[in-house]
Amino acid sequence: MKQIYKLFKSSYRIFWNDKVSVALTFIVPLVLVSIFGAVFGGSDSGPQGIRLAVLNQSTSPVAKRIESSLDTIKAFQIIKSFKTDSGKTVVFDTLSIQEYVRNGKATAALVLPLDTYTDTSVGLYIKFYYDPKNDMEMQTVHGLIQQVVFSQFPSVMAQSGLRQAERFLGIKSGGVFNRNMASLIHKYFKVDTNIILHPQLSDFKIVGNDSTGGAPNFFNNIVRIENQQLIGKEMKNPWATRSVGGWGIMFLMFTLTATSSSLFDERRSGVLLRLLTSPVSRTHILWSKYLFNMSLGMIQLLFLFMFGCLMFHVDIFSNFFNLMLIIIAASIACTALGMLIAAFSQTRQQANGLGTLLILSMSAIGGAWFPTSFMPSTIQFFSKLTVVYWSIEGFMEVLWRGVGFISIVPHLLILLGIGAILNLVSLRRFRRGHIFD
């Protein structure tokens, strides 16, 4: 027993002295749990800032109330106008709002047309345009819009019923019928007759999501939402097309961190010293590593996309040139990140630990696992500083939206910019660091 205790104690001593193991055991899970907590569990959790374009052409109070309700939902960033190329702010019309979604500037658009709800309407009529580039986000948008629309439903139905009675029975007889119905409802259900005869939004509330669960079918003829998918209709496998980039980038970062860290193995074995005693400089070694990693990254990504194409019918060839540009830019940026990790580490173990922490965190906040719109606004800000975010956005642009070169220029510039900054930092660090000592 004594011996077991001694060995047990020494195991802790060894573990505690291995800072990488300690970090992997406690810090990495802590960071990831914090990110997941912020996304799904905190008081400030839930989606935020999903860009929803709204055009209200109707003059009816119901449409106005729907518009007002949308304004209060924190998940949405409501956009009602756009800037033209000349910088002029213009309110959407039915064509420009669709173009806005098509260009990826908003996730979806809700149009409340002139006939959303008229005096002769039986129910509500709404147009919904969407880009399901992110399935999870789109389900949320759908759910929230249904909730808002159906929250108007009781008053619409009541008003509609009253009007229908007056139309078919005549104003006088219909009025009597309505009052009698109101009395009966009052008698048996204790509902104020004024509320029944003069329905307002505040009088009827649908509580929780369950109320809307079966509603679309039941009220199909009363609430008519005309859905139109603007992007990706022709995709053979939308799920794979959306996912392949995110997963590819995550694995790419793992690969490149490992290969960058091979410098440590070469230092330990003395190969680095042998190379540096031949007509080879430190700059030669670093550049060769950089080029090797970058080309390996490109090959790995291309391999993954090819696999996606063969197995899941991801269409990589219709926009292949632009896809290659994003692959190159993403490989450059990821390689720079791998080199940075190697430059700031003193051993391979440290590089692996730091790499795991950074890669998983960046994948989480960069949108590889779930939409960035599900994160608090502060984390969303940091998302845009990650290689993962811009790589995934770039892949979505070329694969999902099929955009041309001009549209991906910002993505390319940002990825190359990140790559350049990380490279400068890592080169400085390599000059001062321990790898060549």
């Binding site: 074995s269 003395g270 010293l273 190379l275």
Partner: protein
Amino acid sequence: MVSHGEFMINIQQITKKYPTATALDAVTLEVQRQEFFGLLGPNGAGKTTLMNLLVGYINPDSGTITIDGDNVTQDTLDIRKKIGFVPQSLALYDELTAQENLEVFGQMFDIQRKLLKKRIEEQLHAVELYERRKDKVKTFSGGMKRRLNIIASLLHDPKVLLCDEPTVGVDPQSRNAIFDFLTSLNKQGKTIIYTTHYMEEAERLCSRIGIIDHGKIIALGTIDELLEKLAYEETIVIIKNPLTAKNRAVFEKFGTLLEEDDRYELKPVEGFLLSDFFAGIERKGIKYSWVELHRPTLEALFLQLTGRRLRD
């Protein structure tokens, strides 16, 4: 006086300091062309730092180093073509074959493809690894790896070969093979600097030896010149047994007595006479056969100079 240009390697007043210690302190050393020079010293004496300076891997804080007339600190990339460096560690790619390793390292010197192939074959034959050339290095024994480690430094046919403890962890048979190979290289005209903390290696291989300790060259010369610095001409070894152990005081009258596991080593004082010594032990009944006279070693010189043993 010999001008600096006449030496193959000329080290003048080299100092290298690290944050916690001075690795080399104003070291001056000249190595003749085609000389087999040994640098002997304990671990941490500054041998590897000096080698790293010679190959331009690190720069000195002060002083100059020239190899074949070229300043190492100013012209490192070109000068490296004149140097072959055998690092202390096995600087090889385990996952590559012996031949692939040699190709990788040989290519760095811009050797023509055909010539490189020829040299690789020659060197593999020279160290008896040709038959294993297509095997991965990870399958090699320690001695085979050491031999490959050496020939990887010879593919560009350097004028100078710097060997930093190239036999660490090698069995005696492989060590002898390595010694023979290095000796033949020296005979072919290569200047060799060989660092070690084994005095036997330095004594066997090197025509001239520098003893280094705490970053300073404390003795320099041929073996005979170095041993002349000792205060005595022989070391007396006495077998340890109950009788000799009982008479330690008798031995100590004649010099410094060191106790080993199975023997005593007597370093005689100045003016020591063998006849007095033998007369003394005879009186105590100690047999002559228990006593051996040995030529003093560099170990003894190091002890005399530093008060410590080489392997301490």
